[in-house]
């Protein structure tokens, strides 16, 4: 692990959940500086200069996003996206559980930068413990005058409410989150208009991830140049990487982007169990196309992952070792996305369902090699054809698995057909992988 950290520096400090401990470690200095010594524009400029990119998956410049909101007296909102539901991602839970005030301070700085008068933390319903911790932190912040009316005598007022979801992956999509926060079913909206113009209650809204907002107090206190001393030119700062699956030490690790993926998977997380090799790994949660052993030495950052045909996403690495059949992985993911599809757009609703059916067919020995092409074409027809990227989130990894592991799919299919009696050994034509 890097010796230098930002978000995890004090993470294991006893009592960090309490405001007095957080203040003793320098907490709320950023908010005080922003509100009393800086103007809204200066805060925006500092955030933009820091190059902080959204940590929720898209990687868009946080300062730029905040600057898109119209200025002036119009009622504006800030939503912190704490609906962390991407399989393999658990960084925000640790940040909220152990370091709730860092987030509360970050949310209020973000609200000041955006000129928002109401801020909400939309936390997924399953995180009951974390929601209670945040509730306690928010009331402490209110008591100390860090939230509410005329914060720190600056004239800036902002309310802060922790809003609990009730179990829906799609509510992590920003426009679905807004609908859900308005008390509706969490269906995504058509974009444009983007939330910066027309978001919550049709007002301009800034939406940022927990990790993104948790960075803002540090940027305000230490300055954009300090922040840029971490990470790479295009991906400054640190990143919390969640590593899970077939590794010895699953967990959250704070790294500087740009270090080789091997250092994370083998160095920090201990690699797969002895004697086993990495078969596939997801660099950015279950929605990212899979990579293989040959990509382990690539630098782990936005650009390199994209060049390799995948994406950094939430930087949540799921490691799959060679003992796991790839069809099983594809099926489990497809089932997940089928379950979580809100059903609004046909390509996603039907595409996820048919993908599950076809994968089940392969597993049951009821498929022919042609089905792989059909399945690949289903994936191609989902991508880019829906209001949100939920369908794409299944199509990209499943499509990449078919592409990278086609011989295994074919072999799995043939074995299943023989087992089901649909194919006899004599009729079985050797596959290219078997001939070699």
């Amino acid at each position: 692990m890097s010796d230098r950290g930002i978000l995890f520096t004090h993470i294991d400090e006893p009592g960090l959940q309490r405001l007095d401990v957080y203040e003793r470690l320098g907490g709320y200095r950023g908010l005080r500086k922003a509100l009393t010594a800086m103007s809204q524009d200066e805060v925006l400029k500092e955030l933009e200069a820091s190059g902080l990119r959204g940590r929720g998956g898209a990687g868009f410049s946080m300062g730029k996003k905040a600057s898109f909101l119209p200025h002036g007296g119009i009622e504006k909102y800030l939503c912190c996206n704490a609906d962390e539901s991407e399989p393999g991602t658990f960084k925000d839970r640790e940040l909220m559980h152990k370091h709730p005030h860092q987030l509360v301070e970050g949310v209020l700085i973000g609200a000041f930068a955006a000129g928002a008068s109401h801020a909400f933390i939309y936390i997924r319903g399953e995180y009951e413990e974390e929601a209670n911790i945040l509730d306690a932190a928010v009331s402490e912040a209110y008591e100390r005058g860090y939230a509410g009316e005329n914060i720190l005598g600056s004239g800036f007022s902002c309310s802060l409410v922790v809003h609990r979801g009730a179990g829906a992956y799609i509510c992590g999509e920003e426009t679905a989150l807004l609908d859900s926060l308005e008390g509706k079913r969490g269906n995504p909206r058509l974009k444009p208009p983007f939330p910066a113009n027309q978001g919550l209650y049709n007002g301009p809204t800034l939406i940022n991830n927990v990790e993104t907002l948790s960075n803002t107090p540090h940027i305000i206190v230490n300055g954009a140049d300090w922040f840029r001393s971490f990470g790479t030119e295009k991906s400054p700062g640190t990143k919390i990487v969640s590593v899970s699956g077939n590794v010895k030490r699953p967990g959250n690790y704070e790294i500087e982007l740009g270090i080789p993926a091997r250092d994370i998977i083998y160095g920090l997380a201990g690699g797969p169990h002895p004697g086993r090799r990495v078969k596939a790994w997801f660099p950015g949660g279950s929605s990212s196309p899979v990579l293989t052993e040959e990509h382990l030495d690539l630098p782990f950052d936005f650009e390199s992952m994209q060049q390799a045909g995948s994406m950094l996403g939430t930087a949540s690495i799921i490691v799959v070792d060679e003992n796991v059949p790839i069809v099983e992985v594809a099926l489990r993911l497809a089932e997940f996305y089928r379950h979580e599809s809100c059903g609004k757009c046909v390509p996603c609703r039907e595409g996820t369902n048919w993908t599950v059916k076809m994968l089940e067919r392969i597993d049951a020995g009821d498929a022919t090699p042609m089905d792989l092409d059909v399945m690949a074409s289903v994936q191609a027809n989902i991508i880019g054809n829906c209001l949100c990227v939920l369908g794409d989130s299944m199509a990209m990894p499943v499509g990449s698995m078919i592409k990278r592991f086609r011989p295994e799919f074919e072999a799995h299919m043939e074995r299943a057909r023989i087992a089901a009696g649909a194919l006899t050994e004599e009729l079985h034509v050797p596959l290219p992988s078997e001939v070699a």
Binding site: G183, G251, I318, F336, E340, S341
Partner: protein
């Protein structure tokens, strides 16, 4: 396979008409009309909770989820009576609330067992043996996966990623995260809850890599 079987994959689809849902409603109130507060007996505390949530938002309808969760907490599930109570306080139609409730995984429109156990079976947990864990819970609690036990004590769900892959395989025991779990832990949890133990007191709390000393499980 029935004609509309493929719809089972669509969240919120219940394969039945709204009219059937309301068949059992004793009050006889149509789902499309806002019930009157004095006609629906709303428990004082529930009303206060819902009204508190309504006061937190610029638009009171934002309180729909917190209100439904509060009602479910009180009644155990979102019965027609529970939905009517929320509708009466929030001044929205029961149909609207049910449309919302049917969307979310944690809101129950059928009666369920008293203790909710969500076992994560998504990829990261599956890679570490979640399938065995969920089966063990089913055996220990007597509840089928995604169903309730006959004695009404347990409600077992095979849940999508709960965001605790560092402690995989894991489960949420009435909202308290526990992991990494073994098959034997299922019996411990079931016995503890059956004996009336508090859900947060079962099994040592192991969470986050820092807490369990960079565990190496060879």
């Amino acid at each position: 396979m029935s004609k509309f079987d493929h719809l089972r994959g669509v969240p919120g689809s219940r394969n039945r008409l709204a009219a059937q849902v309301w068949e059992g409603a004793k009050v006889g109130a149509p789902a499309a009309e806002i019930p009157e507060l004095d006609e629906v007996g709303v428990p004082v505390e529930l009303r206060a909770t819902i009204e508190h949530h309504m006061s937190l938002y610029p638009d009171y309808r934002s309180a729909a989820l917190p209100a439904l969760r509060a009602a479910q907490h009180l009644h155990g599930w979102l019965s027609d009576e529970a939905i009517l109570q929320v509708a009466a306080v929030m001044r929205v139609t029961p149909a609207y609330l049910e449309s919302v409730a049917s969307f979310y995984d944690m809101l129950e429109l059928e009666p369920v067992g008293r203790h909710a156990i969500y076992v994560c079976t998504n990829l990261s947990c599956q890679l570490r043996g979640a399938h065995d864990v969920v089966e063990a819970f089913s055996g220990a609690t007597g509840a089928p996966v995604n169903g309730s036990s006959a004695d009404g004590q347990f409600y077992l769900r095979s849940f999508e990623c709960l965001g605790a892959c560092d402690t995989a395989p894991m489960a949420s025991i009435e909202g308290h995260y526990r992991g990494p779990l073994t098959k034997e832990d299922a019996t411990t949890v079931a016995d503890h809850l059956r004996a009336g133990g508090a859900p947060d007191e079962v099994l040592p709390e192991k969470r986050f890599v820092g807490d369990y000393g960079r565990r190496i499980d060879e």
